[in-house]
């Protein structure tokens, strides 16, 4: 996994869908353009929901890493 400055971490492991995405949307709403957000999610639905929303909202999905029992998403607020 690459190293970069993370501005906000959302540990949504254990949250049911769509909790992780809702938390990401809330964080990006409050955040500044250029900030980096990371989300940890153990919910299978996040694997499709988060990339779909990031693409629709025209932010940048920097990285997705599958770890032991959870996925790790890194998203940059692009606008």
């Amino acid at each position: 996994m690459s190293t970069m400055q993370i501005d906000k971490t959302i540990d949504a492991r254990g949250m049911a869908c769509p909790g992780p995405l809702m938390n990401l949307i809330g964080a990006i709403r409050q955040g500044q353009v250029g900030q980096i957000f990371e989300v940890f999610s153990s919910d299978e639905g996040s694997k499709t929901d988060i990339p779909a929303w990031v693409a629709k909202a025209k932010h940048e999905l920097v990285e997705v890493v599958q770890d032991d029992g959870y996925a790790h998403f890194i998203v940059r607020k692009a606008r």
């Binding site: 995405l21 929303w53 629709k56 025209k58 606008r79």
Partner: protein
């Protein structure tokens, strides 16, 4: 006399905790409930006020009439909690000490956070629901847009329910053919819960309610009558109804008891504050990633009450914990409804919409005053 049990907030959660604690240890604890208005408001009824199916007066009763004799009610506003000295300062200047403190202050809506948002209607306060009803009465056709301007928000089914009830309302006024209903959802489906979405989306389509996904309201232009999303889309409206952004109460933020939005961090099972002793939080007040709804406050209240009763008795904490139980109704219009039930370990299930669920909800709404606040429904 024994412990000072202090409860902030006279909503569903705070009222149940006060009554359950009073029932168990009312003779050996001083139980005080502080509420800023002195009135208990049944918020699930706002939706019905908006479409003219409920009278505002039916949703409000004096809190004093719902509390057991052993609970002392103070009508005042808590302004500061001082956990270090176990005191709460009230707006009047009075200070109350506590041995056990329950934060049941709920959430507040902040439409002003949305640029241009104050031009929108909402049904998240009684006044807002009454204004919306007047606006609907004056409505003669056009596009009504329903959107969500912040998550989390109270009662996740409410925007979908409102769309269905609005469809009924416009049909009854013979305006449906001259009107469009557009439901803007923050997710790529109608509702937070996928299984329930699969149930309601075909009904939305059947009723001609247009669903747009991934539309998180960012701003409103009241002059152009447009609403724009975080995702960059813009939609025209004639009448706009928004779920306002929510945050925790000011006393929580001013006391540094919550996160950046004022939600109090608690253990999701015991409802104890994650870092502060002798403090519990329930209902909308918490940061638990679960529905903000009266149902959650209701089920959590018995857990917090049992913890406090044990503390007053000097006993070990009870094994009964909050398991994430949620049960709510979802109106689907045409006199039908479904239900949504789940907990931390069991995914949501919703039966096919039927008249019996609509009548069950109506019955619950009417009998609420005699059952729930008193802690008579487990």
């Amino acid at each position: 006399m024994g412990n000072d049990v202090l409860i902030l907030g006279g909503g569903v959660g705070g009222t149940i905790v006060a009554n359950l604690v009073a029932r168990e240890v009312g003779d050996r604890a001083r139980i005080t409930l502080v509420d800023s208005t002195g009135f208990h408001v049944y918020q699930p009824g706002f939706l019905y006020v908006a479409v003219g199916n409920e009278q505002p007066a039916a949703l409000k009763r004096p809190e004093a009439g719902l509390l057991l004799h052993d609970v002392k009610l103070i009508v005042d506003c808590a302004t500061l909690v001082q956990p270090g000295v176990r005191k709460v300062v009230l707006k009047s200047g009075r200070t109350l000490r506590y041995d056990e403190l329950v934060l049941a202050t709920g959430s507040r809506t902040v439409m002003g956070e949305v640029p241009g948002g104050l031009a929108a209607h909402d049904f998240y306060t009684l006044d807002g629901a009454m204004r919306l009803h007047r606006a609907l009465n004056d409505f003669e056709g056009g596009t009504i847009v329903i959107g969500v301007a912040g998550i989390p928000y109270k009662c996740p089914p409410a925007p979908v329910e409102f769309a269905f009830l609005l469809d009924d309302y416009l049909r009854a006024r013979r305006l449906r053919e001259k009107s469009q209903i557009k439901l803007l959802s923050p997710l790529n489906r109608a509702f937070t819960i996928e299984a329930t979405s699969k149930l309601v989306q075909p009904i939305l389509a059947e009723r001609g309610i247009e669903l747009t996904g991934f539309f998180n309201v960012e701003s409103v232009d009241p002059v152009a009558k447009t609403v724009t999303s975080m995702e960059g889309e813009t939609v025209d409206y004639d009448l706009l109804v928004l779920v306002p952004p929510h945050r925790g109460q000011k006393v929580i933020e001013d006391s540094g008891l919550g996160d950046e939005r004022g939600w109090v961090p608690v253990d999701k099972n015991t409802l104890r504050h994650t870092t502060l002793d002798r403090i519990w939080a329930i209902g909308d007040t918490t940061n638990i990633p679960i529905s903000k709804s009266g149902s959650v406050a209701h089920y959590e209240a018995s857990v917090a009450a049992a913890e406090i009763v044990a503390a007053v008795k000097g006993e070990a904490a009870p094994s009964h914990v909050y398991d994430g139980k949620v049960m709510c109704f979802l109106e689907t219009g045409h006199g039908q409804a479904t239900t949504i039930r789940f907990d931390y370990d069991h995914p949501p299930v919703s039966p096919t919409p039927a008249r019996r669920w609509h009548w069950a909800k109506a019955l619950f709404n009417k009998t609420y005053w005699h059952t729930v606040p008193q802690g008579r429904l487990p």
